[in-house]
């Protein structure tokens, strides 16, 4: 019997071997396709000087990723500031729900990239446009999950609030938010994941400094190894973002507290 912890290392390595095999075969079949060792060498070069800055068109990978992250967090922060109050409102008021719901249902399935040309026309500037697109991406899961959290507050807790004669303000902060916060963080985690997906495509369209345009630029430079490096780094950062959001969400979830 192989111990479990060895399995946890061994099985992914086995699969890595299979993937590298298919990749090498592809590199042989398609002339110019970078081999795994090409990508490894290039990765070391790219990571050895991540902060260089030779002007707008030529900057290190850390600056590219940093710019993309800054846009994501900008749009994400605005989406939280707008989405949480709207979600609270439509969760607590049946009339607000009736008013907002048809528009949320219609706008939610629209690809955020469809807003990009309109945003570009309005803002006439790529950075604000990208932030707006991320805002539109992030807001729907935040609104929907916040409202869901509010509606999942048990009638019993609300009866406690009524007997104690809590003011509406106290009711929100002492009863509704503690129940809704785990739901809000679920919405934020979903939003951040989608935002990180969308920023790559948005930057390919807008240009400027950022990981999305960097990948598109390397395609135009015929530097395919860098495209693969971009894919790997986007994946690693996406994984880190999701893990961090998960940790923060658990920290604010009363159900995960006091039950050690």
């Amino acid at each position: 019997m192989v111990p479990k912890y060895l399995n946890a290392v061994f099985l992914p390595l086995l699969l890595l071997g299979v993937v590298l095999g298919i990749w090498s075969y592809t590199a042989i079949k398609i002339p110019g396709f970078p081999t795994p060792s090409d990508v490894w060498r290039e990765l070391l070069v790219v990571l050895s000087n991540p902060f260089y800055n030779n002007g707008a068109g030529d900057q290190g990978i850390a600056l590219q990723l940093g710019n993309s992250l800054a846009r994501v967090f900008g749009g994400f922060a605005i989406a939280i500031a707008v989405g949480v109050p709207v979600g609270l409102l439509i969760g607590m008021s049946k009339n607000a729900y009736t008013a907002f719901n048809p528009y949320i249902q219609i706008l939610k399935p629209v690809s955020p990239l469809a807003w990009l040309p309109l945003a570009l026309f309005v803002f006439k500037e790529v950075n604000t446009t990208a932030i707006f697109v991320i805002f539109i991406t992030s807001i729907w899961p935040i609104i929907i999950n916040t409202a869901l959290g509010v509606r999942s507050v048990s009638e019993d807790y609300l009866n406690v609030a009524r007997v104690l004669q809590l003011t509406p303000f106290e009711r929100v902060f002492q009863i509704i938010l503690p129940v809704a916060v785990p739901f809000i963080f679920t919405g934020m985690r979903l939003s951040l994941g989608i935002a990180w997906l969308v920023i790559v495509a948005a930057e390919m369209l807008t240009g400027g400094v950022g990981i999305g345009f960097w990948i598109w630029d390397e395609y135009n430079n015929l530097n395919y190894a860098h495209i693969i490096i971009g894919i790997i780094l986007i994946g690693v950062i996406g994984y880190i973002l999701d893990t961090l959001m998960g940790l923060i969400a658990d920290f604010f979830d009363y159900r995960k507290r006091g039950l050690k």
């Binding site: 104690l164 004669q165 503690p178």
Partner: protein, 266 residues
């Protein structure tokens, strides 16, 4: 007994609209005077509207016809002078035992008390239900019986005029239930609270109550009979086992529930 009514339920009807112009008359012409310091239990089959009466006194539900007066004040909305112990305890799971009670005390009595007085006040009620050792635990970490003791401590901590208990021990096993009944009787002797208990347990009704209110079956349920329980306090469940008055009361309730107003679909 000639004491003036403390809590007066005066010709109360409760009608629920069913939609399509139909309605369900849950309670019809309920009439009851409850004295100060009295323990009254309301017993009946399920669907007899006994919980509805409690919700009307609590103000959690609206009265269709008639009035309910507490010390001559009309009851129109919930308020802390009518504390409720809910069947499923309704503790806030993100607050510790101490914080659950503190939150109620702070809201209801907070303006009159200093921080150290609030602390002492909360601890007094935690102490009353013997939960000092669990004061920093969360509701998810303690047993059902302990949760219900916290629920009772929270309700009493806001010094209500009436304590309303909606099948408070219904969800507990019989040993835990007996333990909590003893707690409740001891505490009520100390505090002298007026208590209204909704129950479907015959022994519980006799053991705890000064009077047992027996409800007829719904729809249009109302009070069928009122039984005076003439047993001295403190009461001891062991000694009462063969007590004539205890057995008489028990027999009268069983007669009412299973002969006069038997319900065969249970």
């Amino acid at each position: 007994m000639s004491a003036k009514p403390f809590l007066k339920i005066d010709h109360v009807d409760k009608i629920f609209p069913l939609g399509g112009g139909k309605e369900y008359v849950a309670l019809r012409d309920v009439q009851l005077d409850i004295r100060e310091n009295e323990i009254v239990s309301i017993i009946g089959h399920s669907g007899c509207g006994k919980s509805t009466i409690l919700n009307l006194i609590a103000g959690l539900d609206t009265i269709s016809n008639g009035t309910i007066l507490l010390e001559d004040q009309h009851i129109t909305a919930p308020g802390p002078e009518r504390a409720v112990v809910f069947q499923n305890h309704s503790l806030l799971p993100w607050l510790s035992v101490y914080q659950n009670i503190e939150m109620a005390v702070r809201k209801v009595l907070g303006e009159d008390l200093s921080p150290s007085e609030i602390r002492d006040h909360v601890m007094k009620y935690i102490d009353m239900v013997n939960l000092d050792h669990a004061k920093d635990k969360y509701p998810g970490e303690i047993s059902g019986g302990m949760k219900q003791r916290v629920g009772i401590a929270r309700a009493l901590s806001i010094e209500p005029k009436v304590l309303l208990m909606d099948e408070p021990f219904g969800a507990l096993d019989s040993l835990t239930r007996a333990n909590l009944q003893d707690h409740l009787m001891r505490i009520q002797m100390q505090t002298g609270n007026t208590v209204v208990i909704i129950t479907h347990d015959v022994d519980e009704a006799v053991l705890l109550s000064d009077r047992v209110i027996m409800m007829t079956n719904g729809p249009e349920a109302t009070i069928g009979e009122i039984l005076e329980v003439n047993l001295p306090r403190p009461r001891n469940r062991l000694e009462l086992q063969h007590n004539e008055e205890y057995l008489r009361c028990r027999g009268a309730i069983i007669e009412f529930l299973y002969s006069k107003f038997a319900k065969d679909d249970e």
